[in-house]
Each structure stands twice: as C-alpha cells, then as structure tokens.
C-alpha cells in the first residue's frame, strides 16, 4: 500500500433533473500505481460518491463503453494508465455528444447514422446451403479486416472537427463500417452504399483532419476508410455516367 498516490480527479457532473448546464466536482482518490483511469472512477463510485454515473463493461478495451475525455483528449478509460497523468486529472463526457448524465452520453444519434450506411452483407440473392460456403482468400480479408476491428467506442466522433460542426455528417465509425462491407467480397451492396455516400453530410463533408485515426484505441484507420469511400463513390458515379447501364454485368 506504500505505493498509493493521491490524485485529484476533476469530474464533469450533470443531473438532468437539477442542473441547467454541466458543472465539475473534485475528488481526492488514493490511486494504486497499476490503475487505469476507469479504476479511479469505479473507486469514486464505490467509496466516495455513489451518485456518479459512467459507462463501462469489459475493462479490456473490447466493449468500447468507457470512452471519455481525459484531460481534453478522447480516451478509452480502461486502457490509459493513471501513471500517464500528473496529479490533477480532468474527466469529462465525450465531446460532440449530448450528455444524458455525468459522463454518460447519448448514443442514439450514432445508431441512426450507423443504420443509414447498411452495415451488413447485402446480396441480390442469398446462396442456398446446397451451393456451399462462400470462399474468401486471406488477401481479400486483409483489404477490410482492420475496419472490422472498430468497437464503436465513439472516440473518433469526439475528435472529429466536422462532427462538431455538421450535425448531419455520418461520421468516421459509421462510414468505416459501411465501407468495410463494401470491400467484403461476399457483399453486393457497394453501389447502394456509394449512392448513400454521395448524399448530403456524408464522405465529402470530411476535411481529412485525420483526428479520428489519431485517437482510435484499436488502430483502425477511419480516415482511410472515409477517403477510400470518396474515391469509390466518384469512380462509381463516373462509371454510371459513361458506361451503358452503369457498367452492370
């Protein structure tokens, strides 16, 4: 216990029944050296102030629940060690999202955007079981695999300057997941998604700030996905314009 270090956590609080706007509250926390930020928040919840609300689940950077702003940077709080920070640590809800309570943000807007990009395999006709399995080579898998690693933690949305200013923008994770299916050789919906991506507030709203890729805790590259989707949308549009029947085989 001799390694315990006291740190001050300045946590954003918001009670929708009482507060007009969010405020901050400070807590002195005796931290163990191997703690992550989430451990300290759980300590506050368990031992200091049971009214603190925050989301978390797996504690191993898989579920994507515990994304918050730590000293102004979007972070997965179960992944960042307390030792990375000085004696005072500010924890706030993710930027660019409505705040439900304390550190909990409203995710419904994201789910609507995700649904809009059809993040599932689209096929004109499903194969019957008699026709066997759909084969995919390791090289084909490699083309989209990194985009499958997204855990929907929303750090990319909190970092994106376009999300902050354009409410209709689909955003990095939704576009990356849509693009992931367009690259999948089992999918036949790339043209459908290209049409979606050519709409208002989609890939062409992205100014390629690259912030989404910088903050991603799973090393996904959403900025690459968004800009590849731009390229594919233009190629798809030009093909439809030039070739008879849009180049359909």
């Amino acid at each position: 216990m001799s390694d315990v270090e006291r740190k001050t956590f300045v946590v954003t609080r918001f009670d929708p029944d009482r507060d007009e706007v969010p405020k901050t509250q400070s807590y002195e926390v005796p931290c163990q050296p191997d703690w992550k930020i989430l451990d300290a928040l759980n300590f506050i919840k368990d031992h200091i102030d049971a009214s603190l609300s925050h989301r978390w689940s797996c504690r191993m950077a898989v579920c994507g629940s515990c994304g918050m702003n730590v000293n102004g940077e979007p972070k997965l709080t179960c992944k960042v060690p307390i030792s990375d920070y000085s004696d005072t640590i500010e924890v706030a809800p993710l930027s660019n999202f409505p705040v439900i309570r304390d550190l909990v943000v409203e995710l419904e807007g994201f789910l609507e955007k995700l649904e809009a990009v059809k993040p599932f395999i689209l096929r004109a006709k499903e194969l019957s079981l008699d026709e066997g399995t759909t084969r995919q080579t390791p090289e084909e898998l490699e083309e989209f695999k990194q985009f499958s690693m997204c855990i929907n933690c929303m750090l990319c949305y909190a970092a994106c300057p376009v999300v902050a200013n354009e409410p209709e923008f689909l955003g990095p994770a939704a576009i990356a997941l849509g693009h992931r299916y367009s690259l999948d050789t089992r999918d036949e919906g790339a043209a459908v998604r290209s049409e979606i991506f050519r709409g208002e507030g989609t890939v062409f709203s992205c100014s390629y700030a690259n912030e989404c890729s910088e903050v991603c805790p799973k090393n996904v590259d959403p900025a690459a996905a968004v800009n590849q989707a731009k390229f594919n949308s233009v190629i798809d549009w030009a093909t439809r314009l030039v070739l008879p029947r849009g180049g359909e085989k």
């Binding site: 929708p16 102004g72 930027s95 660019n96 409505p98 439900i100 083309e143 902050a164």
Partner: protein, 147 residues
C-alpha cells in the same frame, strides 16, 4: 467544458425521454498539439484567398498595359510583398507535405484487378513529380524555355 460544438451534433432525430445537456467540446481543444496542426492547415486557406486576390490584380495589370505591369513588378520588391510570398511558400510546402503523407492511405485497396503501389513508392512518385514540376517552372521563369 465549453459549449462550442453544434447544439444538434450527434443528436437523435427524435429527442429521448431524458433531458440532455447540449454537446460540448473539451476546454482548450484548440491548444492541443494535434488540433494546432490542423488549425494551421485550415488557416493556410486565408493565404490562398489572399494569393487569389493577388493573382486577379496581376492579371488585371497584365491586361492594362506596360506601365501597370511594371508598377506591379516594382510593388513586388516591397518587403511586405516579399514576406507574404515567403509565407505563401511555407503554406504551400506545409499543405503539400501533409497531403503527400495522407494520400497513400486514401487509395482504395484495388480498382478492378489493379492494386495501388506500396505507400513509399507513392510518396516517392509524389515528391519526384513535385520536384520535376518545380524545376520546369523555374526553367520557364528563368527564360530557359520559350525565351
């Protein structure tokens, strides 16, 4: 937290049952090193805007005769113009280097049977093209071509 995000950012189409606080942005977000670089990139737009106006003025002078053209050239010797052109050069180099760095990963994994070359090769080609075009323009401006 400072309320600088759009009030409807990431809001659902229909409000939920609970009242929410409007989306916010981290205090001092503009001071973070990564954001400073991005803001600097955005700010180069102002330099290009001014360069655009300058181009219009130069083009206008070109069509207004020898005297107007000579006056523009004389103005360019003013230290303010020299400083502005140096700033423009820095802005162009900064944007070009940033663009070259991000360009390879924006390429689709393949177009039909064609795959893009590896990122270092794309970088090399971009820089080679940049140097070649710069040398071509320097040669033209020094009277080496079309003299």
């Amino acid at each position: 937290m400072a309320p600088s995000a759009h009030p409807r950012a990431m809001a659902p189409a229909r409000p939920g049952r609970t009242r929410t606080a409007p989306p916010q942005t981290a205090e001092g977000w503009y001071a973070q090193p990564r954001m400073r670089r991005y803001l600097l990139f955005d700010a180069t737009g102002l330099v290009y805007l001014l360069l655009g106006f300058l181009m219009l003025r130069v083009t206008w002078a070109l069509g207004s005769g020898r005297v107007a053209w000579d006056r523009v050239l004389a103005n360019f010797e003013n230290p303010l113009y020299v400083a502005f052109h140096l700033l423009s050069l820095v802005a162009v180099v900064f944007v070009a280097v940033r663009f070259f760095r991000l360009f390879p990963k924006a390429q689709p994994p393949r177009i039909g049977p064609l795959k893009p070359p590896p990122a270092p090769m794309i970088h090399g080609l971009l820089y080679a093209a940049w140097i070649a075009i710069t040398l071509l323009f320097v040669t033209i401006l020094c009277g080496g071509l079309f003299a």
